[in-house]
Each structure stands twice: as structure tokens, then as C-alpha cells.
């Protein structure tokens, strides 16, 4: 019994890595652009479809398809920035939200028209391996490691480069950053491209785990938002911690009860934290 619980915790930690990977990009976009990217999950969905086309229809090896997918979602991030986000940067927040909600419909219906309603996966089943009496799903382990590496690289970019530093500063004071000699447009483009690239990376690591369908995005957008809000919006470390909390809670609760009840428990914990700390675990309450 104890062994099984430990196994559930291990699976939860791995799941947390997958969740963390999912939430990074959303968190970055909010932190820098104050952008609530409602269509984030749909970006991941598009990434998965691109990957599917490249691997199954075009017959490319997975690694090549992965690189192309990440590049395409990065470009898609820039296109969405130019067409939707930039024109609405100074508009009321609600307009941005509505525009991005519109993007959800565009992406979902386009997917429906092109690929139909079927569940599609790239038929790449990775094994479950037994390590010292514990069962570990390779696909989750890989996503977990991918999440750690991605977060590490993002950390190096944000904390060790001038561009990264100015991206962190711009969320605190836009005009102040301009007075330091920063061209804010460059920062916005880079951030939106990074947001797109991150959804591409998520798609690559999700491909062996999930099958994609036109309504794939919404549940993941909600999940990503819960993780980001729980951690403190815009706080990358907070998002990372809350991803692991959600992963472990869901996994252990699912083991002890059922997966439906596990989701309810996870939501209750989320609501409970929000009541006590509305700014999230690591969030800073803004005094304005």
C-alpha cells in the first residue's frame, strides 16, 4: 500500500513537470505583456496537429518534425502579436480577452475543417518501466526532464542576458525601460515568439502522451491558468511550484479515490488557496 502511494507521488511529480512545462509560456506572457492568453491551449493544439502532419502524413523523423513545429509555433506567436495583441496593447483589457477568445474559435473551427473531429495521435507509445518496484511512464519522465531543461534555459535567458533583464523590467515600468535605452517593441516581439516557441515545446513533449482533437486546447488552457494563478501570476518560480502541487495532489487523490474526485479535490485546494492568498503562493500583492 505504502509502495503504491509512493508510486502515486512519483507519478505526481512527473505529472507536475508536464504541468510546469505547460504553464511556463502563459506565465511569461502575463509577466511581460500583462497578456491573458486565452488561446494558449489552442496554440498547443495547433502544435500537436503540425507535428501530426509532419510525422504521419509527411513521414518525417520525430526530431525533425519537432524542430519544425517549434519554429512554426514561434512564428505563429509573432503573427498573433502583430495582428491581435499589438493593436490592442493599450485597449481595455476586456477587448484583448475578447479578441483572444475569438482566436480560440478560429483555431478550433479551422482544425475541425482541416482534420475533422477524430482523435489523432502520432502512434508513438513509449514504455512503462519498472524501477525498484515503482512503475514509471517514460513519456512523463521525458516531459518532466524536458520541462526542467526548458525552465533552466528560460531562467538563463531571463537572468543572464541584457534582453532577458529588460524583459523582466518592462513588466514593472514600461516608460522607465524606454528611458534605459530599450526598444520595447523588440521585447514584445521576442516575448511573443518565446511564448509561441514554448507552446511548440509543450506540443512536442505532449505528443507521446495525448491524442489531439479540435477541442483539445480548452481544458489545457484552464489547467495552465489554474497553475499560473495558484503560483502567483507572472511569477515563474511560483508557477513551477504550483505545477508540482497540482501534479502530486491529482495523482495521489486519483489513486486513493477516482480521477474525477481527484479533480474536485485539486479544485478545492485551488479555491482554498485563493481565499487565503488571492495573489497566489509566490505572488506579490500589488499596492496601486
Amino acid at each position: 500500500m505504502l509502495n503504491l502511494i509512493i508510486n502515486a507521488i512519483i507519478n505526481g511529480i512527473l505529472l507536475g513537470g508536464v504541468y510546469a512545462l505547460l504553464a511556463i509560456g502563459l506565465n511569461l506572457l502575463f509577466g511581460v505583456l500583462k497578456l491573458i492568453h486565452l488561446a494558449y491551449g489552442q496554440f498547443v493544439m495547433i502544435g500537436l496537429y503540425i507535428l501530426y502532419v509532419l510525422v504521419v502524413n509527411a513521414g518525417l523523423p520525430f526530431w525533425a518534425a519537432a524542430i519544425i513545429t517549434i519554429i512554426v509555433t514561434g512564428i505563429l506567436g509573432i503573427i498573433v502579436h502583430i495582428l491581435i495583441v499589438q493593436p490592442l496593447l493599450d485597449a481595455p483589457r476586456l477587448n484583448q480577452l475578447l479578441a483572444l477568445a475569438g482566436l480560440i474559435i478560429v483555431f478550433e473551427n479551422l482544425s475541425m475543417v482541416i482534420w475533422g473531429a477524430d482523435y489523432r495521435n502520432i502512434q508513438m507509445s513509449l514504455p512503462v518501466v519498472a524501477v525498484g518496484g515503482f512503475y514509471i511512464r517514460m513519456s512523463y519522465l521525458i516531459a518532466f526532464i524536458g520541462g526542467l531543461i526548458t525552465l533552466g534555459l528560460l531562467y538563463l535567458f531571463l537572468y543572464k542576458t541584457y534582453l532577458g533583464l529588460s524583459i523582466r523590467a518592462i513588466s514593472q515600468d514600461l516608460e522607465g525601460v524606454e528611458l534605459m535605452g530599450v526598444n520595447p517593441k523588440v521585447n514584445f516581439y521576442v516575448t511573443m515568439a518565446a511564448g509561441g516557441i514554448l507552446t511548440g515545446i509543450v506540443a512536442v513533449f505532449f505528443a507521446p502522451i495525448y491524442a489531439v482533437h479540435p477541442h483539445f486546447g480548452s481544458s489545457f488552457t484552464i489547467l495552465a491558468f489554474i497553475i499560473v494563478v495558484l503560483g502567483g501570476m507572472g511569477n515563474l518560480l511560483g508557477g513551477f511550484i504550483s505545477a508540482f502541487i497540482m501534479g502530486v495532489v491529482t495523482s495521489v487523490a486519483a489513486f486513493l479515490t477516482t480521477s474525477e474526485i481527484a479533480d474536485i479535490i485539486a479544485m478545492l485546494i485551488f479555491i482554498g488557496v485563493m481565499l487565503v492568498r488571492p495573489q497566489g503562493i509566490m505572488g506579490i500583492r500589488e499596492a496601486r
Partner: protein
């Protein structure tokens, strides 16, 4: 070094600055004094490129800069210490200083200049790992000035460095500004603390309701009856 010529600026329909003309000589300290709402901050924001002009021109070393973007103006060598310092509260003290060296010409000299700024402001060195938001008002102002020096500017714009600070700290900050000027930096400062500001000035300008009313040297300002009565209280 800086020449402002017949500059008019406004926010939409509402004009704030009318026909402003003045010059700041290389190596000098020029001070613009005037009451709240006279347009002092608007003037500095316009020089930094943050506000569009209605008419007129601004030259830095003979090159017109009124059409340039804020980041280009910083690259050209005009650095501003905005009102209240506007440090980045969630970056550390040292990261704030690193932001100051963002212009390409300043990056390779980051280490040397950081050492120099820490010598000027030892308190910043003691607190370099702290979040800037945890600093006191005086320390924030020092950080903002230090950050501006990191960019190796030709011209420093100071917007009300005394604002919100205790008199003793104001004296200290003004002494530092004087030291910086002595090291060869050209300074254009706007201030409400007229008496203290004039003591630093080579040249001074009185800005009232968006117009320059009086121009002159420090001595002329101190001798002017109107200035004495309205601003110094002698």
C-alpha cells in the same frame, strides 16, 4: 551641447509648453525652476522622446533629436533620472544598475562603471543583492542616479531629485550631483527646491505656466527681486 529651440508641446488639445528656447553648455549645470504644473516634467519627457512635440526642435551636439524614439535618444547619450527615481522595484539593486548599462556602448564597460558607481554610492554596494523596492527614498534616488551614470551619458536630465526626501538627504544628494558635474558631466535639472538648486547652477531658467519667464546666471537669479520674493522667500 543641448539646444532647445521654439519648442511647443501638448497633450492632445491641451498645450503645456509654449515657445521654449534655451541652451545647455557642455560641462555646465543648468537648472529649470518653477512651480508645480509649470511643465517642468513635460519638458524633460519631451527631450527624452517620450512625448511628441507640436513644433520646434531639440538639438544634441547639433543633431536634431525631436523625431527620435526614446531608446535612440538614450543611445545618443541623454540619460534621464525620472521623477521619484522610478527604479525597478522587483529587480535587485545590481540588476537595476545593469539596466542602466543597456545601451550597447555601455555594456562592455559594465564592470568598471559598476565599481565607480559603488565608490560614489557605497550604500548601494552594501545592498546590491537586495530588491530595489526595499530601499529607502534617499537610497532609491541614489540608485536612480547611479543607474543613469551606468549608461555613460553625455547629458544627464534630473527630474526633481529632492522630491519627497528629508532635508538632510536632499543636501547629500545635491552634493553628489555637484560632484558628478565636477567630473565633467553636463546636467540639466528641474527642481522646486529653488534655493538649493540655484546653488548648483551655472545657468538657470524660470518656467511659469509653460513659458520661460527669466533666464540668467546663478548670480542674476539670486539678485532678481521677483525670484527672491516668489521662490526664495528673502
Amino acid at each position: 551641447m543641448l539646444e532647445v529651440s521654439q519648442l511647443s508641446v501638448g497633450y492632445g488639445e491641451f498645450q503645456v509648453l509654449f515657445d521654449i528656447s534655451f541652451k545647455v553648455k557642455k560641462g555646465s549645470t543648468a537648472v529649470i525652476v518653477g512651480p508645480n504644473g509649470a511643465g517642468k516634467t513635460t519638458l524633460l519627457k519631451t527631450i527624452s522622446g517620450l512625448l511628441p512635440i507640436i513644433s520646434g526642435s531639440i538639438f544634441l551636439d547639433g543633431i536634431p533629436i525631436q523625431e527620435k524614439k526614446p531608446h535612440q535618444i538614450v543611445e545618443m547619450g541623454i540619460a534621464q533620472v525620472p521623477e521619484g527615481g522610478r527604479i525597478f522595484p522587483y529587480l535587485s539593486v545590481e540588476e537595476n544598475l545593469k539596466m542602466g548599462s543597456f545601451p550597447k556602448r555601455a555594456r562592455e564597460k559594465f564592470k568598471d562603471r559598476l565599481k565607480w558607481v559603488y565608490e560614489l554610492f557605497p550604500v548601494l554596494s552594501e545592498r546590491k543583492k537586495q530588491l530595489a523596492g526595499s530601499l529607502s527614498g534617499g537610497e532609491r534616488q541614489m540608485l536612480a542616479i547611479g543607474r543613469c551614470l551606468m549608461s555613460e551619458p553625455k547629458l544627464i536630465l534630473l527630474d526633481e531629485p529632492s522630491m519627497g526626501l528629508a532635508p538632510l538627504i536632499v543636501t547629500h544628494i545635491f552634493k553628489l550631483i555637484q560632484d558628478i558635474n565636477t567630473q565633467g558631466y553636463t546636467i540639466l535639472m528641474v527642481e522646486q527646491n529653488v534655493k538649493k538648486a540655484l546653488q548648483l547652477a551655472d545657468n538657470a531658467f524660470l518656467l511659469e505656466s509653460g513659458r520661460i519667464k527669466i533666464k540668467g546666471s546663478k548670480e542674476e537669479f539670486f539678485a532678481n527681486e521677483y525670484i527672491k520674493k516668489a521662490y526664495i522667500g528673502l
